[in-house]
């Protein structure tokens, strides 16, 4: 049988200047790692064409155990409240532990 452990996948879409901030949060929350993909898009803060350093987005993924979700979201909500534009969403995933 496969060991599929239910965890949470948190995805953050934001301008790439926030990368270091997000990595710091993930480290503080003791996640086992993170994955970053380059993205572009549009939202309430206009088009992010991905052509210049100043308008490139990242899609930032963190898989965390269910009990770690709340702490992570607290920090992200803090950022959003302080005016940082980002799209954050959570999905359910089953992680293969071998």
């Amino acid at each position: 049988m496969h060991e599929l452990v239910p965890e949470k996948l948190v995805t953050i879409i934001a301008n790439d200047v926030f990368e270091d901030k997000l990595v710091a949060i993930v480290r503080r929350q003791k996640a086992s790692g993170y994955t970053i993909v380059r993205a572009r898009g549009a939202g309430s803060s206009g088009e992010q064409s991905g052509m210049l350093d100043i308008d490139t987005n990242i899609k930032f993924h963190v898989i965390i155990p269910v009990q770690g979700l709340s702490g992570l979201l607290d920090e992200l909500r803090g950022l959003k409240r302080r005016g940082y534009n980002m799209t954050v969403f959570v999905s359910d995933v089953s992680v293969l532990v071998s």
């Binding site: 301008n15 200047v17 926030f18 901030k21 803060s45 206009g46 088009e47 064409s49 991905g50 052509m51 210049l52 350093d53 100043i54 308008d55 490139t56 409240r81 302080r82 005016g83 940082y84 534009n85």
Partner: protein, 338 residues
């Protein structure tokens, strides 16, 4: 060289071509990293070139140029901030963020000005290049101080502090220290200063081997870079309507103010010739679209990026490249004759 003459420089024509391609909604797309690669090349090439020239420069003069670059970098954002508040179109935080862009400089505009002077056969001093490197950072600091001051004023008038208050208190000094660090270790500043130092200390025989790379393909790379910047500038014009005519005219007036400051410093204070003075005018007139935007996004998240990006990249950059540079050259010639 007249304004029309400027328009017939290939580099400026490529800017126009890129602009046109977006206007007619062409599907011309550049690879996302091309602009970044070209600008790394341009910074390194101009740094090596200028550093080599500076190796033979007078120390006192270089020092004086650095000093006045800092003065310009501190003074211009204050002027911009006051003008912006006077328009009553933006709140103080947005004004601070925008003003920081105008105190800083645009390497792309500066390099285009060098191409313009080369084409027109005008000589120029190499000191303005150090000023370019120096001027990237002070305006960021002034911008942050203005933002922090505006935030405090907002808190004072609106006693229900809430989240914004929290930022000031928990952030405070540590944040400022980090932002100072960021301003001084900014990537393009390091690349430019590093290349200048390398150009200055390397043996001439070693530099000679670099010159085909640094000199001969320079103009061609600049053309491709401006082609892409033309497309990026045109991408912003959809935002003009959101921004309003008053702010748009700030994007044209502020460069003129900056250019005047620059001419005064270049001509009267530093005693440069027409070429050097034109370059200092360009430093005053140009607005950053590389170093300052990320700094403001991080430190002044309350400001709307559409405002400062549209102004700096969509209005001031094209204005300087097409109209500004020949105009500042003309003005520098006038002042020199006076």
């Amino acid at each position: 060289m007249s304004l029309l003459g400027n328009l017939l420089i290939p580099a400026v024509l490529f800017f126009a071509l890129g602009f046109l391609a977006r206007l007619v909604k062409s599907d011309l797309r550049m690879p996302p990293d091309l602009a970044k690669m070209l600008s790394i090349y341009l910074l390194v090439a101009i740094g090596l070139h200028g550093g080599f020239a500076l190796g033979k420069a007078e120390l006192a003069m270089a020092f004086s140029a650095v000093l006045w670059a800092i003065v310009l970098g501190f003074a211009l954002p204050l002027v911009g901030y006051a003008l912006l508040l006077a328009t009553r179109r933006v709140d103080p935080l947005n004004a601070a963020a925008i003003a920081a862009h105008y105190g800083s400089v645009s390497a792309g505009t500066f390099i285009t000005a060098i191409a313009y002077l080369d084409n027109a056969g005008v000589e120029y001093e190499s000191y303005p290049l150090i000023m370019l490197a120096v001027m990237e950072s002070p305006a960021i600091i002034v911008g942050l101080l203005l933002a922090s001051w505006s935030r405090q004023k907002l808190l004072a008038t609106a006693p229900v502090a809430g989240a914004a208050g929290a930022v000031m208190n928990n952030g405070g000094d540590r944040q400022l220290a980090r932002l100072l660090h960021d301003a001084f270790t900014n990537g393009s500043v390091m690349l430019l200063i590093g290349s200048m130092v390398i150009g200055a200390v390397s043996r001439p025989s070693a530099m000679e081997k670099l010159f085909p790379f640094v000199d001969e393909i320079f103009m061609g790379v600049l053309c491709l870079f401006l082609l892409e910047m033309g497309m990026e500038a045109a991408r912003r014009i959809g935002e003009f309507r959101k921004i309003g005519v008053v702010l748009v005219s700030f994007g044209v007036m502020m460069p003129l103010v900056g250019a005047l400051f620059g001419i005064l410093v270049g001509q009267w204070v530093l005693g440069f010739g027409v070429g050097g003075t034109t370059l200092v005018a360009v430093l005053g007139a140009s607005a950053s679209y590389i170093a300052v935007p990320p700094a403001m996004r991080l430190a002044v998240p309350e400001a709307n990026p559409s405002f400062y990006l549209t102004l700096s990249l969509g209005i001031t950059f094209p204005f300087n490249v097409v109209v500004g540079i020949p105009l500042y050259h003309f003005l520098a010639t006038l002042f020199a004759a006076a």
